[in-house]
Symmetry: C2
Subunit: 224 residues, 2 copies
């Protein structure tokens, strides 16, 4: 018997791709699947939707179950390919989550069952999760270019060099230091603090994301 109920409604889950910065790398949270059909394979966190709550609440609860807090959440897409789950028809509503390294400690299980994985060195994933993760990564890279979501990967106070590294790690390409600093400052979305941070060398000024800063900018029009 399949996963589908007698009434004909297919199974519906919320699946969350959570990213964080860790070890100078962009990493995704994966768990080891405990049940068939993918027992033992790594998978993105997933759960049946919660009654009487918005879908986003389910996503938030999933991540809170793994110790993350104060995450950025954004719905990606519904994945409903007929063959994505061998147990029967299953629709997954996928979410993108960004968490800061400080709230990023997996606490919901044995470390061998819940781990951050570099997106550049992923294990084989269950079902169509590789596709979902890839979709999430694409979306993150795109939004980095015209929104301020990138700062949701950083701690509340951050240096410009940290910020640049974050952009470089997510985009996978190096950026010019002076141009980066000029544009990020001219955008007016971050403000100076009086504190300084940094490990070696000259201490760096710490910045903070301004409260009114969740702007989106217009993309340049190719087609006018």
């Amino acid at each position: 018997m399949g996963r589908q109920s007698g009434s004909g409604h297919p199974a519906i889950t919320v699946d969350v791709v959570a990213f964080t910065l860790l070890e100078d790398d962009l990493q995704a949270l994966l768990i080891r699947s405990q049940a068939p059909p993918s027992k033992g394979r790594w998978a993105i966190p997933s759960a049946r939707i919660r009654d009487g709550e918005p879908l986003e609440t389910t996503a938030r609860c999933i991540l809170e179950g793994y110790g993350a807090q104060d995450m950025y959440l954004e719905q990606l897409c519904a994945f409903g390919n007929a063959w994505r789950d061998p147990r029967g028809r299953a629709v997954a509503v996928a979410y993108l989550a960004l968490v800061t390294a400080t709230s990023a400690t997996p606490a919901g299980g044995d470390a061998s069952d819940v781990r951050w994985w570099s997106i550049y060195k992923l294990p084989p994933l269950a079902l169509d999760h590789a596709q979902i993760l890839d979709f999430a990564l694409q979306r993150l890279r795109n939004k980095l270019e015209y929104t301020a979501v990138g700062f949701r990967l950083l701690p509340p106070a951050f240096t410009l060099t940290e910020t640049q590294r974050a952009y470089e790690v997510v985009l996978g390409s190096p950026l010019d230091k002076r141009n980066f600093r000029r544009r990020i400052l001219e955008a007016g979305i971050i403000g100076e603090t009086r504190q300084r941070g940094g490990s070696r060398g000259r201490p760096a000024r710490l910045y903070r994301l301004r409260d009114d800063a969740m702007i989106e900018t217009k993309a340049r029009r190719l087609f006018p």
Copy 2:
């Protein structure tokens, strides 16, 4: 009793926002709801998902049921607000569809039950359909700026003036004729034909979308 089945899976539908150009205006296909809870109100076409098929197939079948053919389809988002349907938990996977005016004749019912409506003069809509339609419109406007989807609203051969009008109607703002023509031609996505069209005045050259033209361009980076 609610709409939800005994197994706990909520109802899941595919809802389609179909746009076309008609009467020098951007119009959306609406149907009059035949059943509670919104009987008599206008609604966007919707259906339960088809077994064993990708979600997109359901969307395509819905529109074919109303006489449309060869539509552009793109998934928008899943709408799963707990209170969106008073009958019980219902998740809608929304699609954006673009059809050409020639294939845009509603044929699936009485004209008083299936109609194109100007997006600038919509009636009150069922459930959260106004929100879904608005989301679709935003997405269309955004994608117009960095993809070639706009041409899916036009017939296979079109004049540059028609194209400009299409952009203007969708975006809701006037565009400069010379800049528009230069950029659309320089983008290299359309090719000349030898035919000419147009109603009054000097006949205009007809163009055709090139086969290799479904490009996307990079958005301008605000954050470098």
